[in-house]
Symmetry: C2
Subunit: 463 residues, 2 copies
């Protein structure tokens, strides 16, 4: 059922190289941070014309930071597992002195003067910032193909969307340009492109990675998240950025299978792919379901709150310079601006009740598993696809299985789960707040080492 | 400028009798709680046909509670200053076993099974609950003249509105039917009818009197408040219901005059009446102003948040049984349901900034003084009045000087400030959260004993 890629294409230096490997190599002097930065810059120069992962690359700054990292290591100052590691940062996260545009003409040439909190943590951890990655305009869209800087493209097939909104971050990791990228996730914006591009993506519990200095989409749901080749690399980066993470679980996590079809129709091959990769290690899984009414209320709470907050962020721009928006983003923001306040109020009020309803699913399970996205990557600009005998909206489909966990602020991890027609699929793991370690433990047990060696760019698909 | 009433009319037993007098009489055995309850019931029977203050009177329960209060006092159990005192409760506050209708046909015959938190406190303080007082339907209106149980009428002129939404509570006190009544105040619903009817009315800081068991209008702004003949009686009742009140101020409060005209046009005679009664004791006052932009943002934050929350409360009723609403209330709720979520979000976001802006007004003053309402009581059903050379909406006028303090949750007290054309006016005092004692101290210093002996019902005014 899990099809194999059929042709190969150029990949960056970091394809197949884990953060653990890189850290070991750095400390054994087999490589240097400067070498790694150069490899990243070379890969970007070579591959980015094909996939448009980056909006800005800051070679001089990256090399300077890398030399500093090398000096520190030589002097015995070791900042931990991200020390000297090239990292890409989504173009909605402020980095002092670098152009950060939100993928929008409204912010063309914008250069922040202060680092976002998560960027400060990256720098303190010794990471080397390579550049800014393409975002769907204002992070307002899961397709990744509406941006003032052009669409980010899926490395498995550049005619297909990367997913979004952290599309460039997923592409940069999937193409081996960097081993780690930072994204944001309001309804799935880390996990969706990770799944469509074949990387791991991790959204911690709400608020654990600080959102200070991140351009807001919807404050109630905005999360900062991590993209890397594997769950293990996400875990390493997470613990490097967040103190106080818990050690490994005291017992093997009990994993339940959450039937995704009460949330949205799912491509049967995608569903089977995700389930098979999990069951091959866990054996038969208990079946769980989100009650239909809870599923509907989760969707409504997501839409009402996200719409109200997004329209509030952009009210002046909508009134004064609508022409600077991408037309589709403009239409969607205008629609969001009509969502009535009473639905927002109801959404906020529903959340504790919905949290209780979902918490009940964890009564006998530590981790819930389901596909990350119900389809594989559609062609760029495609807005409807056939699914399960009907037509569905691409945006609705992309968000359907990820956004419920943003409503509740639950930790969520996506890991590669094989391919369908040569296109990646994702397995999503969800847990209670404070139990993030169970996601990593489950992923380590259930999912074999990512198929680092599989080919990327250049496959041909029926469009 | 402060005109005198010109004719007399029947008044209830409690006109001119303070809580302090009543408490002393009870303990000196000059009266009993049973006598007081009978006086209240007699006054209601005699006067309520003229003013419609009450929706339900529970004579048997009141007399039983009064006898119990008498037994306790005889046995040496003294529950404090409200022990044996007849109290009326607004018809949106749950009282177990009594009909509570929200002034709406939607709740005709509704009998709650549990007391609201504030009712439980009243009972624990020994108060004798006489009955439910008329509310504007669902407390959604400051005029007090739209209710399934008919309009409450101003005791000074029953052709005029009481103000609302706690209209019945103000009327019951103003007409001497009870010495104390409980109301709710979301934008001025305690203070407005208090001012128009010539009583005192006190809204503590947000959340100090619990709203549990009160039918919601707008959670962010809903307050429980007290109505009594004088500020001193409000103070006594407040301290009987809330523990931990601070003692008298360490220095005489510094009172500033807040020019109300950046908030709304004000009848010059009403303005002079309020200012004169204050200046006669304080001497010349410093002039302060709410900056125009702050005034506008306060109004917007009030409207957006209150509309969204009110429409959320009533969404099912609006969809399923619109016919059961009063037509004006229905129109207003339908309009509220169209307020977009982004304005709600902006309103919430503005509040800390607005709190800072208003806090700056307190830099050199402990108490801000302004009129409570910019006009005297209009005729019932009147929706526009001439003011300051133009036409203004009655609802806008009634709410204009009170609602800003709900946005910020500040303590606010209105006290009678003489009459204009024989109709009462109010002086409103505002302070910082936690400084409620300054309001009472200022009122005691500035305002002479309420004109308890002035006549009420039966004056004739030019309509």
């Amino acid at each position: 059922m899990i099809s194999s890629p059929t042709s190969a294409a150029p990949r960056g230096h970091f394809a197949g190289r884990s953060l653990g490997d890189l850290a070991a190599d750095l400390r054994r002097r087999r490589t240097t941070a400067t070498d790694l930065a150069r490899h990243a810059l070379d890969a970007v120069a070579r591959l980015d014309p094909l996939v448009n992962a980056f909006t800005t690359v800051s070679a001089d700054e990256a090399l300077a930071a890398a030399r500093q990292a090398d000096r520190e290591l030589a002097d015995g100052l070791d900042r931990g597992p991200l020390h000297g590691i090239p990292v890409a940062v989504k173009d909605v996260i402020m980095v002092a002195g670098r152009p950060v545009t939100m993928g929008s003409r409204h912010f063309a040439g914008h250069v922040p003067t202060t680092d976002a909190d998560c960027v400060r943590r990256l720098k303190e951890a010794g990471a080397v910032l390579v550049g800014q990655t393409t975002t769907h305009e204002f992070a307002y869209g899961p397709t990744g193909d509406r941006s003032a800087t052009g669409p980010s493209r899926n490395p498995r097939d550049p005619g297909r969307m990367s997913g979004g909104s952290s599309g460039g971050s997923a592409v940069a990791v999937a193409a081996g340009m960097v081993p780690l990228a930072i994204g944001t996730d309001t309804g799935g914006s880390v996990r969706i492109p990770a799944a469509l591009c074949g990387t791991a993506g991790f959204k911690p519990a709400y608020g654990v990675l600080p959102t200070g200095g991140v351009f807001p989409l919807s404050k109630t749901y905005d999360h900062v998240g991590l993209l890397a080749a594997s769950a293990e690399d996400c875990r390493i980066a997470y613990h490097a950025l967040v103190t106080g993470g818990r050690p490994s679980a005291e017992h093997a996590s009990r994993v339940g299978w959450l039937d995704p079809r009460t949330l949205f129709p799912v491509d049967a091959r995608v569903l089977r792919s995700a389930r098979t990769v999990l069951e091959s290690s866990t054996g038969p899984l208990d079946e769980l379901r989100v009650p239909q009414r809870v599923a509907e209320e989760l969707r409504e709470a997501y839409t009402a709150i996200q719409s109200g907050e997004a329209a509030a962020v952009h009210a002046e721009r909508l009134a004064e310079r609508p022409d600077l928006f991408d037309p589709e983003v403009l239409d969607r923001l205008r629609a969001a601006a009509t969502v009535p306040a009473w639905r927002y109020v109801r959404g906020l009020k529903a959340r504790p009740r919905l949290a209780d309803a979902v918490d009940a699913l964890f009564e006998r399970h530590d981790v819930l598993a389901l596909p990350t996205v119900p389809i594989v990557a559609p062609l760029i600009d495609r807005r409807e696809v056939d699914l399960d005998g009907g037509r569905v909206g691409v945006r609705d489909a992309l968000l359907a299985l990820t956004s419920p966990w943003n409503v509740l602020g639950l930790p969520a991890l996506t890991v590669p789960a094989g391919t369908v027609d040569g296109l990646p699929t994702g397995l999503q793991l969800i847990c209670r707040i404070g139990e993030e370690h169970r996601l990593f433990e489950t992923a380590a047990r259930a999912v074999p080492r990512t198929d680092h060696e599989s080919p990327l760019i250049g496959e041909s698909h029926v469009h």
